[in-house]
Symmetry: C2
Subunit: 184 residues, 2 copies
Amino acid sequence: MAWQVTHKEQSKDKILTSAAMLFTHHGFDKISIDQVMEKAELTRGAFYSHFSSKSDLYAQAINKAAQVAYQRTPDNETVQMAEYAQFYLSPAHRDDNLQQPCPLAFLVSDINQKNEQVKSTYTKTFKRFIKLAEQSITDRQQALQSAALMIGGLAIARALNEEPLSDELLKSCQAGVLTLTENE
Amino acid sequence: MAWQVTHKEQSKDKILTSAAMLFTHHGFDKISIDQVMEKAELTRGAFYSHFSSKSDLYAQAINKAAQVAYQRTPDNETVQMAEYAQFYLSPAHRDDNLQQPCPLAFLVSDINQKNEQVKSTYTKTFKRFIKLAEQSITDRQQALQSAALMIGGLAIARALNEEPLSDELLKSCQAGVLTLTENE
DNA sequence: GTCTATAAATAGATAGAC
DNA sequence: GTCTATCTATTTATAGAC
């Protein structure tokens, strides 16, 4: 019987799986413990025998989300990143609400949960940024790539709590913009 | 006297400037109307004669933040994007709490406001992602660039509310990963 | 370990005086 | 237009029965 998963472990895993999906799709603040527990088919009172706080749950849920998401990577010996990127950067990955998407991208989002007025303003701001880029980068595709690398690089750099890694990322992205716009 | 800014306009601008700074640095949910009004040296009651809701303020504050941030771009006739990227992707821009940073990157962040446990988990997940990338991209710098472009591209694509633009961005980023890893 | 009930705090929004 | 005071809803977290 040693291989059996205990009832407690089952419950915790159910809570984590539910939380991973809800948090990645809707963000930390939009999701209450109630909603997580309801999706896990438990009640609120049971929560604190598994986690010490909502933040504790969040940290563990990010882990869970990553595990589940990366299970979907081709399980050959090595992942071909350039190939994986084709799926990763697809409308299917962006829009799918049924499977567990990549938390690294989905959790970097204070905007997505917001209403249309807010998203509309964000979109307009992004377009202005692209227009700015196109003043010196004539190829529109290169302008979009550069903008995504800049915004993404800075956003991730801010989310990391290890400064050497964060600095290294910034430097790499600087060089990346140069590579992408080399022929200008 | 026609050129004079009215008292009401001054108040609204003060609220917007305060909100822009607070929201970009700490996120929508962490900032209360109270805090915004306090920074603007007004009280809560005055808020609703300028804005219909907190969301309304948020949308307008993003605009304000973009205006202020882009004022700092070199005001020659045209901006050299590759050059601007060097500042944009600098620790100074990442860490500065005194000036208005770019809202496009700073608002794409459900993580930054969170505690160290959460940021630590996010960092570990990012490192795992890089390790995955390095299975097929031997140059570490290229691995970092590709990851930032993928995560950033997807995150922004999700934040945009115009599907053709969002799709175009995804496609551009797919091509960008190929360009960045061309010599592999 | 899970449940129901409840405490305690926070924050968005409104009312009415000046 | 700005103030103080208040209503109301939400939500994290805890207490105690089973």
